[in-house]
Symmetry: none
Subunit: 226 residues, 4 copies
């Protein structure tokens, strides 16, 4: 398998200019504007603990301990445990969609689009490992709550983007015609995102390297053999 220009484009893309976001974050600094540094620090701590122990199993005390303050003090920065979760997830999704939108705007051919999306996904896993892990574990249950409706919306758009790409690929004879596309979509989606459960940033493989390997396995499976 050799890399097309499109794939190269995707794999080399470095900057992440914000495209049109999927949603406007409802938590734009809950009315106050406390020091963003401390705030982000706490949020990253929360994300890590949520990812490690699960959202429900995580106590705010634990977060506070790890962040070096008392449980009550968290509430100076955040409205609630849930609002931390919301901010973590929406922050991740916003960036993800910024990346995806840029890929889509490039109007690559189906195979290159798929490669670029996969690569972008691994980049997001690299950048938001904790958020992705949380997302994997909690999204299904959260999505039914009005507050987390943006998760459901994101899932919907996600499916649409990937399915369209697959369909375009089938039409263009880039992907096998005998695929059950919904199954293939799930296969791809899970295959990529579950990686967050074992991926460790800075662990020998760059996101791009992993993406390349995954693509090699995945693509040569669903591509029309040549």
């Amino acid at each position: 398998m050799s890399w097309s220009d499109g794939e190269r484009y995707a794999l080399e893309r470095a900057g992440c200019a914000a495209g049109d976001n999927v949603r406007v974050p409802s938590t734009q600094r809950s009315s106050q504007s406390p020091s963003p540094a401390r705030r982000r620090e706490i949020l990253e701590t929360a994300a890590r603990v949520f990812a490690e122990q699960g959202y429900n199993a995580t106590t705010v005390r634990k977060i506070a301990d790890e962040a070096g303050l008392l449980a009550g003090s968290l509430y100076y920065h955040f409205d609630s445990k849930e609002s931390m979760l919301e901010e973590i997830l929406s922050g991740f999704l916003d960036e993800l969609w910024a990346g995806y939108d840029e890929v889509l705007a490039a109007q690559l051919d189906p195979k290159d689009t798929l490669a670029a999306l996969v690569t972008e996904s691994f980049r997001e896993i690299d950048r938001h490992r904790d958020a992705v892990a949380i997302y994997q574990k909690e999204a299904r249950q959260l999505a039914v709550q009005p507050r987390f409706a943006f998760l459901a919306e994101s899932q919907r758009r996600f499916e649409q983007v990937w399915l369209e790409t697959l369909e375009r690929g089938v039409s263009a004879h880039a992907f096998r015609a005998d695929l059950d596309l919904r199954l293939a979509y799930r296969f791809l989606r899970d295959t990529v995102w579950v990686a967050a459960s074992w991926y460790r940033p800075g662990g020998g493989h760059s996101p791009e390297q992993i993406a390349r390997q995954y693509l090699s396995m995945v693509l040569d499976g669903i591509a029309v053999p040549g």
Copy 2:
């Protein structure tokens, strides 16, 4: 892609004679001796709710409600919420290993072994959908507890079996030689098990059909072309 004898063997296997279990369940009828029927009924209810809402988010009262008794009454049948979880997971793993062991005992060639393992996995997903979903979500955190050491042990053996199969396949020139085998292992493992998160028993596709599709995607990716 055509099906080898080994694959056919795997796909047709119906019975599930218990092979040598990985572990002896410590919870064989927690000291009382209630009607096994009611007991299983409750356990299945618990599994369903655990799978739907997550173990932590599930209250013992919710289980009781769905099973048609009061929360306190559960403790006649089970020692604790945790012991229900343990029984659910160990029951699933015991059956899984019974299936795997039978496959391994057949000493098929690498490609057929892999096919048979994948097929067996989808059969277990079909039979223990809730348990698999719970396993996916909770195993990592549970495995560190002594009580759930059998999870870690199972994971270890799981990795060993799959890696060996892959290695044998590379040696036999059945699988591509340029694979990062650990990556390929994770890829396979996740790809198969995550299916539990969307699979619905009796939903148009039999486990064997899904297995075949997955194998088609996966195998033609990792198989040596040509």
Copy 3:
């Protein structure tokens, strides 16, 4: 001043057959039906403590202590601290309106109606002293909450009943024509209900005796006529 038949009717009325209630209590035993005895016991304790210390200043621990159980155990009987408050207040208002409705149904002349209403009020103070005290102190702030809308509704009907009685009395030349009726209404209303703040059941005066004295002052004044 001598007592008319109507007043005598009011003062002698003993039984309290439930007329048409103002509202259906939304808290009809929150889905369970735990022993009504213990439930009422706790509720009376809560009412007493609320009346003594104020609703906000009362901790559920305090209620539990006084009722002889642990704080958490209250939640077996009640959904929340607020639901106890609701039940206390609605129970009182339901009985009050049962009494008022019976008085109104008797279609007495204005002066007798007023006397009967005042007497009935003192009877309710006697029976629901704590509830009345709570009502006095908290109603204004509670009434704006949807959950306690029945308070506002009751106040509205209350004002209507009393104002009508006063107006009929003025028309019938039973009450002075030079009164500011809204002022007189408030005067009467407060005068009667504030008594709950100092009234002690079984303290020498029966509700009927106190009602008689109050009526004497309200109707005829404290000054020596002439």
Copy 4:
């Protein structure tokens, strides 16, 4: 009913020279020396919010918000939330007693004294509406605390003054001899002060007008004399 000289005296009295205070306020400028203007502004805000929401239900942050500073900044001006309350209540009582003392010093006859006291009370309601409302709601619970002993002391003196006036009136055949004086005292006291719960300064009626109406009802009753 016509107005005696004494009543006229009472109704026309405008100035409010401070007589001998009941107590020396312990909070005279809590150790700092901030601008008295800002201080009073904050105190009035606090009084308003206390009156609206109740002392316990009022957060120090709410006061700060309404006063246009941060919660912590209040502590530059005041020692504590409680000290604000104390200052509000003592300020009101000091002025009230200044007025009462002046009335008493005039040595009017019982009926005129009573009229003057009532009128003075309505004037205080007009001037210190919030403080009176707070007093009504919180005094009972506060009075037991050493810090608020001045409330109990004031109540004691209050009762003494009114009871004496009533007794003098009965002796002088100005008031009915068949009254239960303690009951009459409570009747009068409540009747007057509860008005604070609905009185709105600048709402059509001057304090003197309301006082006149109340006196008319209290002294002569609402019934047409027979």
